[in-house]
Symmetry: C2
Subunit: 217 residues, 2 copies
DNA sequence: AATTAAATACCGACTGGTTGGTATTTATGT
DNA sequence: ACATAAATACCAACCAGTCGGTATTTAATT
């Protein structure tokens, strides 16, 4: 009878891949890099994954699972109002921009950029991760549109994906400038956009006296 | 007297680098790839550039120059009103999303993502390209804020950079999904945001009957 | 309970091909 | 003749992936 798979080994490899790929990108990451980061051997790597490509696909899936769990248990679901939940989601995304760049940037966004033209399997896994995450926002957006009687020429899905576009673009600004604050500022604009879309007060002008940051960082 | 350098050679290498890096990314691009695409030899390559890294920096600079010239001569400058010019810029960015992905995506955004942690020289050149381009929008944004008496808790620079974030993020969506339309939809949201910020009518609801596309594609 | 067989987990040296870069040579314009 | 541009040949380091082997676990058999 078989020796049972040590679930830690595979996970260690996947999470080592998260760290290395998020800081160097997919192409520049070597299998040895990942093994070193995981404290495992090449033998272990190729026992669990047939190729570097297969690891990348598995990593994208594991990314969907771990981030899915993170967002499910995140505090932004508490408001009763769907629009407030949506805004709380954006505020949450803003709040978790902390520490070093590889700690808060997106694995699948990074990989997609590198492999879209050369590796359909990885591309597909990345898109499913991004799209799947965006889909979790759609019910709240639809409810908010209904609640506020919005007759829009945009769809809930397109707004959900737009939030992801802003996040991905914000990460690029942060990486290029080396300043995470650039990402935060862009997410602030996204927050303001959603407020405006749904007619939350104070979009165009604001009362005298600086409005304080809504997250109170 | 020395044999004069053929000015086409260096440019051919740089533009070959544009094409290859935009479709495969920086790390996956080999020097031989670029030489093949340029129809030149490795000898020519290393005669003009000391290293692959130096080529990347030169490519980022050349990118700033060529895109700078493209945008300077683009038609979005014609409106007299600064806000209209800004909106025309966004509409122009939307219009030029055509053809294959490597034909309209951003070289320096792609590179920045891969090298930000490992190659400061390239990262710097990428940031200067993105930031420099964003800066060209700042005077119009400032003028539009003045014209409309906007007392904002955001700066002109942050809005200019936000437009770039949305564009970069839109490219990632397009690459991940394989559907350029996803990028267009995100840019539509950006357009709507700027309209809303400056109090252009019709943000929250719209008159009965579908509003037609503003660019009339 | 002890032994053995079978299956898997993991190791690390090795390989064939690729990579960035160098050394040498040839072509070309002055 | 001379200096530079560009081509070719070449190299050492590196890479993904392979392979023979060892360690560990479980189940069947005694």
């Amino acid at each position: 009878m078989p020796r049972p798979a040590n679930p830690l080994t595979r996970t260690k490899l996947l999470e080592a891949a998260f760290a290395v790929i998020r800081s160097k990108g997919y192409s520049a990451t070597t299998v040895d890099d990942i093994c070193r980061a995981a404290g495992l051997s090449k033998g272990a790597f190729f026992h669990h994954f047939a190729s570097k490509e297969e690891l990348a696909v598995a990593a994208a899936l594991h990314w969907s699972e771990t981030t899915g769990a993170l967002f499910e248990s995140a505090p932004y679901h508490t408001p009763a109002d769907p629009l407030e939940r949506l805004l709380a989601y954006v505020a949450f995304r803003r709040e978790i921009i902390q520490g070093d760049l590889p700690d808060f940037t997106c694995l699948v966004g990074t990989m997609a950029q590198e492999v879209y033209g050369t590796n359909p399997a990885i591309q597909k896994a990345c898109w499913e991760s991004i799209h799947g995450h965006a889909e979790t926002l759609v019910p709240d957006i639809e409810a908010a549109m209904r609640d506020r009687g919005i007759d829009a020429d945009w769809t809930a899905e397109s707004l959900a994906l737009h939030t992801q576009a802003v996040l991905q673009g914000a990460f690029i600004l942060a990486k290029a400038s080396g300043e995470p604050r650039r990402a935060v500022e862009s997410i602030d604009h996204l927050y303001r956009y959603i407020e405006g879309l749904f007619g939350v007060a104070g979009l165009r002008t604001r009362p005298a006296g600086r409005r304080t940051s809504r997250t109170g960082e």
